[in-house]
Amino acid sequence: MLLCEQQTPRGLNQLPRKKTEMELAVNITLLLMLCATVFAVVKLQSLFAIVMLFGIYSLLSAMIFVALDAVDVAFTEAAVGAGISTVLMLATLVTTGRWKKKPERSGLLPLFVVTITGAALVWGTLDMPEYGNPANPAHHHVADRYIAESPTEIGIPNMVTSVLASYRGFDTLGEVIVVFTALVGVLSLLQVRRPRTFARKQDNRPDTHRRRPYPVLQVVALIMMPFIIVFALYVQFHGDFGPGGGFQAGVIFAVAFILYTLTYGLDDSLALTPLPALKILAAGGVIIYGGTGVVSMLLGGNFLDYNVLAANPVSGQHIGIIVIELGVGITVASVLITVFYAFVTRAERNRAGEKQVDLPNKAD
């Protein structure tokens, strides 16, 4: 989502390969499954089922990105689409109810507008340069320079990271601020509740048969937590060499705590990651990123010009990239965890009275 525009080719040391027939067949099958999923989403009535299908949709599109060699994008798509959005949409459904509402007005006017817009867009594409032609202007605007110069200027193997973190450092700073603003927006609408202490927990209404914890899941979650966190650190600091970086690592970190919340409950999780600390971390990541820019200005360079951070410009670039990726990772992780807590807090409250009308027959 956030990184989608920056699809530089990852041809590190291999020349462009010709796709074999089998790869083509895989691509076509994946795209067909994607289309089928979309039609099923339109047709289904149960919103819960639709969210599950969105998960499949995300996995499929991530797989297509892998087939297109855009591994960093695939990583992000899986993290945001299949991971975080699914979880947040499910939490939302608890509040809003699980069935599609019957539309009150006829759909003819929207259909008309959509058809006209779609036709105009298709008509617009006719003027575009031939699809996939390597001579297209999009591939030669700045990409040539990045591909030619980044190994000597920045010197890290993953060109996507050098474009994201250094050449387009301003964009990425903007994206981090967008993530932070999203947190501010969510917290101004939804609260995260205080953790219940043990005594008050006892006073709470008795757990129903559904509320009993799943011991097997708790054990598995405990085994997996350290593994996930180490993996997040690997993705964070390996982003210079392979697919990954701050955004993806932040999401993986958040996933570890989301898993903990899901298996152990919000109280235990809030005790583990207190809300004030999360807020400070979310702002701190942005400050680390912006601060790197300020430091480079103080050292006599431009804002976010990492060349001045060390005696040698290339190692300056390395330091700058590692530091700002760390800032990105911290902000993304703490924002996602806090947003998830806010959604869970809302989902724990009873739904606001409104009874669902016009239930279709309960197949789900």
């Binding site: 048969h209 559904r210 799943y214 097997v216 899941l217 598995v220 085994i223 997996m224 593994f227």
Partner: protein, 103 residues
Amino acid sequence: MQIAVDLVSWLFLSMGMFLGLTGAYGILKFPDFYTRVHAASISDTLCTACFVIGLALQSGFNLVTAKLFMILILLWLTGPAASHALVRAANTAGLKPVTEKKD
């Protein structure tokens, strides 16, 4: 030697394919949720193992193999746990298994 390794790896992969297809056929054809879980989860674990071993034999002893086995461990940990949780949730929600053949 290479031929032998290829042969064994091919054997594992086809075993994996067979198990996977069985599981998929099972979740399509079986009459109710519990039987479907049975078909999917049991075949899944061995299917994953066969695929991973088949691929590991092809790549030899390196980082790729290590990552493959990490995937295997992860799927072995999460797959059965997810199936267990799924069945338990369905059971507490009051989903009854189909015990008689419908006419």
